[in-house]
Symmetry: C2
Subunit: 228 residues, 2 copies
Amino acid sequence: MAERSEDSEEVKLLGMWASPFSRRIEIALTLKGVPYEFSEQDITNKSDLLLRLNPVYKMIPVLVHNGKPISESLVILEYIDDTWRNNPILPQDPSERAMARFWAKLIDQQICVAAMKVAGTIGEERDAAVEETRNLLMFLEKELVGKDFFGGQSLGLVDIVATLVAFWLIRTEDLLGVKVVPVEKFPEIHRWVKNLSGNDVIKKCIPPEDEHLEYIRARMDKLNIKSA
Amino acid sequence: MAERSEDSEEVKLLGMWASPFSRRIEIALTLKGVPYEFSEQDITNKSDLLLRLNPVYKMIPVLVHNGKPISESLVILEYIDDTWRNNPILPQDPSERAMARFWAKLIDQQICVAAMKVAGTIGEERDAAVEETRNLLMFLEKELVGKDFFGGQSLGLVDIVATLVAFWLIRTEDLLGVKVVPVEKFPEIHRWVKNLSGNDVIKKCIPPEDEHLEYIRARMDKLNIKSA
């Protein structure tokens, strides 16, 4: 259990079951042992509550802690680590903290964007997007050499953020019929995905595969993206 | 002087005099009283040193501390605050820290992008970009009510990051002949710019106005952006 957890404490997560950004908050709270109430949001028809709590972005996830709303998943993860100090998510050493933040930012601002391009393009444009995504993933591949997790022996910030690669990008590539992360090129990433898949917190907090694949396939159909 | 500063310590900043991202690192180091060596980089002809120290983005600023390179200005600012603990840049309270990170991220990922669109467009497209920039700035305007700085009585993370608005966006709008941040709509932001302009650290760390305007005008000419 988290050190600062109290019965009177309100911890509420406005999220969406299939969102990697929402799931990463669930992973962090679960790692810390912080009990929370989950409020599933319809992202196609946003609730007044969501619009009121996140007037800037109007997006999930939003963490509400004792009445105070916090938005943006990377900001929320840092907040969780600043608030509940047990089972640290960020390293303690300043330069290791900086590297964790650097990779987390790269995943959200570069890898996620490049991977979305893979889904949204065809032909040569898609080939270029695959190449771009792989070039970025190669930095992560090298980071994993000799480590069980990005965090070393246990899950850390980069592992939590990179579940997007492990369980969203890789599940989607199967449906797209495009191997963005082939095991021959990315043996370390695939070894890491296995480590993640065997972790109890991760098992509890990622979307069940069948429902998730069905959801992704329906999204692809809606966006006119051809599945394999 | 910074608490951990030692004569044997290497603190080197690879930067560029007219870059808001580089200048924010100078502000933070100066606030902390950390002596540093500045290495001016030619961003049109990148040095081997820069490419080696920041192989992912190949961009300034890079802070090198005792041989370890750190990239990405927001990551560097957090590193500086984690390493030299005097004159904190981030608030101590977790929810205030979260809000500072939230606004810093908004400035870099939304306001900066919208403001760049103002420069890069004309006619109706420019009007839309001005509107978008103003809508985002209005959140900052409200944050400043009753405060000297975003950080309260003294400079903090958001002030450092928002120098981009105070001294880059506002200086550029004069050259463009488009008032993106009119004083009637944004009295708090203009009051804050005055406070910033009177601060000794800021005065020391922002580009001298005449040279800066000349540089911006030359950049606009090069990019075929009509100046007023």
